[in-house]
């Protein structure tokens, strides 16, 4: 069951954000086929409720650390579709100047500390960001997204313990989509109840229906409030599912089509559209209007990316060390 219904504006905003991610990802599929986007591409389709729900609980100056599956997080944190698209086109206008690509979206002004493509490697960094807030007495919360596959990594264990031991303001958001590439959770964890695992660090931990944006929002709000009030780190297991392959190269031999189809019945966008419409919070053509706006935004983004600039090759060795001739680059 979902939490209490939102008001109309908020409900529509949630739906819109999820739909925007979905359509963004749909566009990526096409652009990958057209070889406009290259490298590894990991889609968020099916998991939209997680990023959208969690981000409702965050302030603009709260930090976020993400993974290679970062488009959804980046979009909900306010990085423009155009900047992300340009990034994947390898253009200077990209949010990482084309240096990072799909897996490494960054926007430090928005406190978005990147897609990290080493599984679990973002967790220690998130702990450190929270430590900086703690030491500087800033009442901020750092959110760290990671997949359930990361739970097996040593860095998960070390980071959970450190955050709990030092009571740092971190929200650990485990996106449990049941698979790490082709490895089902039960083949990866002796204890598959991830909230129980998290609780063994003396950390409050809840399992949440990650296909229900309202449930996610409400859990995240609860956790973030508690953290901001000095309650130390919290852990959310967000039970979700990816509808597409792990990345663009995945033959999906490890799961049945029927399993995917069953999960699609719980598509967070479809079900939430129904919820809103059922409650009279969205007009019959409300979705269509959103689709139009989003399509316009995305085609503008793609056009801009296409028209973007390739960085001159003689700039190759920039950004290895901070440039002393550009001191403004580094706000000390």
């Amino acid at each position: 069951m979902t939490a209490n219904l939102p008001d109309r504006a908020h409900g529509q905003r949630l739906l819109r954000e999820m739909l925007r991610i979905r359509r963004f990802e749909d566009a990526c599929v096409e652009l990958y086929s057209a070889a406009k986007i290259r490298g590894f591409l990991h889609l968020y389709i099916g998991e939209e409720a997680v990023a959208v729900g969690v981000s409702q609980a965050l302030q603009a100056d709260d930090a976020v650390v993400s993974t290679y599956r970062d488009h959804g997080h980046a979009l909900t944190r306010g990085i423009s579709a155009a900047a992300i698209m340009a990034e994947m086109f390898g253009k200077v206008e990209g949010c990482s100047r084309g240096r990072g690509g799909s897996m490494h979206l960054f926007d430090v002004e928005r406190h978005f500390y990147g897609g990290n493509a080493i599984v679990a490697a973002g967790l220690p960094v998130a702990v450190g960001l929270a430590l900086a807030d703690h030491l500087q007495h800033r009442p901020l919360v750092t959110t760290c997204f990671f997949g359930e596959g990361a739970v097996a990594e040593g860095e998960f264990h070390e980071s959970m313990n450190l955050a709990a031991l030092w009571r740092l303001p971190v929200l650990f958001c485990c996106e449990n989509n049941l698979y790490a590439m082709g490895t089902a959770l039960a083949r990866s964890e002796a204890e598959t109840n991830l909230a129980v695992k998290a609780a063994s660090y003396e950390m409050p931990a809840w399992s949440v229906d990650g296909m229900d944006v309202l449930a996610v929002e409400s859990a995240a709000r609860g956790a973030v409030e508690a953290i901001r009030a000095g309650g130390g780190p919290h852990f959310l297991e967000l039970r979700t599912y990816r509808f597409r392959a792990h990345s663009m190269y995945d033959p999906e031999r490890y799961r049945d089509k029927s399993e995917v189809e069953t999960w699609k019945l719980r598509d967070p966008i479809t079900t939430f559209t129904e919820t809103l419409q059922g409650a009279g919070l969205l007009e019959a053509n409300g979705l269509e209007a959103m689709e139009h706006e989003i399509a316009a935004e995305l085609s503008a983004a793609i056009e801009a990316a296409e028209a973007g600039t390739l960085e001159p090759v003689d700039q190759l060795t920039r950004f290895v060390h901070s440039d002393p001739t550009q001191p403004s680059e580094f706000v000390s």
Binding site: R38, A117, A180, P251
Partner: protein, 347 residues
């Protein structure tokens, strides 16, 4: 049954032109090698992330689970340090594990096990422990995978005493090095360049083993020695062809094994050509190219007609954008230019 005498220039180059055989991909060659090893020796098993149900991140182990079952084709959790360490323990316990680390980029998480245990146990036990472990991993850049997924650290690993480092560059080596590695009583790391998996090559009939301690002369030439390995061999060969059209006859050496380095083959070549260009996808500073240069200077200083030249990866984390990535990596024109430069030096 014949063994590829890859150390002898004449033989190995002759081989590829004359021999009968099958054309297969590097990926298929690696898969055959694993299939073969699993069939030949029941102590052999494969473990790593997604080697089973997924079929391997790069489809190298596709089908092996179905044939050999989950006890011998073991999907692991994302726990690089533990499953590499478990490979070490299993080797101590009499098995012949093949541990696959999905890519070299994640191997850093297992470095403690590799350097402090695998490479060290024999020595600190005074010769009692032997770790007949093979660790395979994909290496290299060139596919726009950006900074965290594009490392070429095989030369860096070659710094560690107690391990061997193999870099199969050809279908034949992909097919046969694994078995020789498994027969080795000590830990062996095999680095497979990601750009090679789809490459096709002739797998000669009749060869049923290769050594893992000799470099191979892939092209005989008298003017300049181009020394390389792994994913850069193709570029070096292309550069040699281009140089040939300019009248420069380059010898191309495929190191095959970065540790121990086959210095003899390198020296034999440079004392003939007096000029050397090293092509190495590692970052320049502290790369294996530096070690080769230093050894050549130590052993053949008076034979050198020109400074040893290096064509390496620029000292930057690998950028995503295609044109930037290309600029960062060794490319054919750079190799040709370096060869021309050393040719221009006074004799």
């Amino acid at each position: 049954m014949r063994s590829a005498e890859s150390s002898t220039a004449e033989l190995s180059t002759a081989e590829s032109s004359k021999a009968e055989g099958r054309t297969i991909t590097y990926r298929e060659a690696m898969r055959e090698a694993m299939h073969d090893a699993l069939t030949r020796d029941e102590r052999v098993f494969l473990m790593g992330e997604d080697v089973g149900r997924y079929g391997g991140c790069f489809a190298v182990s596709m089908g092996l689970l179905e044939e050999f079952g989950p006890e011998r084709i073991r999907d692991t959790p994302l726990s690089e340090s533990a499953f590499v360490g478990a490979g070490i323990g299993a080797a101590l316990g009499g098995m012949r594990p093949i541990v696959e680390i999905m890519t070299v980029n994640f191997s850093l998480l297992a470095l403690d096990q590799i350097m402090n245990n695998a490479a060290t146990l024999q020595h600190m036990s005074g010769g009692q422990c032997h770790v007949p472990l093979v660790i395979r991993m994909t290496t290299g850049a060139g596919r726009q995978l950006a900074a965290q997924h594009s490392h070429s650290l095989e030369g860096w690993y070659a710094h560690i005493p107690g391990i061997k480092v193999l870099t199969p560059a050809t279908v034949t080596d992909a097919r046969w090095m694994l078995w020789t590695a498994l027969e080795d009583p000590d830990p062996v790391l095999i680095f497979e360049h990601g750009a090679l998996y789809n490459e096709k090559g002739l797998l000669p009939d009749g060869i049923e083993s290769v050594d893992i301690d000799k470099a191979a002369v892939r092209r005989v030439g008298g003017d300049v020695s181009i020394v390389t390995y792994g994913g850069s061999l193709g570029k070096a060969m292309q550069a040699a062809e281009e140089l040939a059209s300019e009248g420069v006859d380059a010898e191309v050496i495929d190191l095959r094994t970065l540790r121990p380095l086959d210095t003899a083959t390198i020296l034999a070549s440079v004392t003939k050509t007096h000029r050397m260009v090293i092509v190495d996808e590692g970052w320049r500073s502290g790369s294996i190219s530096a070690e080769i240069s230093a050894r050549v200077v130590e052993e053949a200083f008076y034979d050198l007609a020109a400074p040893v030249a290096r064509v390496c990866t620029a000292e930057v984390p690998i950028p995503y954008a295609r044109h930037m990535e290309e600029a960062a990596l060794p490319q054919v024109p750079g190799i040709v230019a370096a060869a021309r430069a050393v040719m221009a030096a006074p004799d």
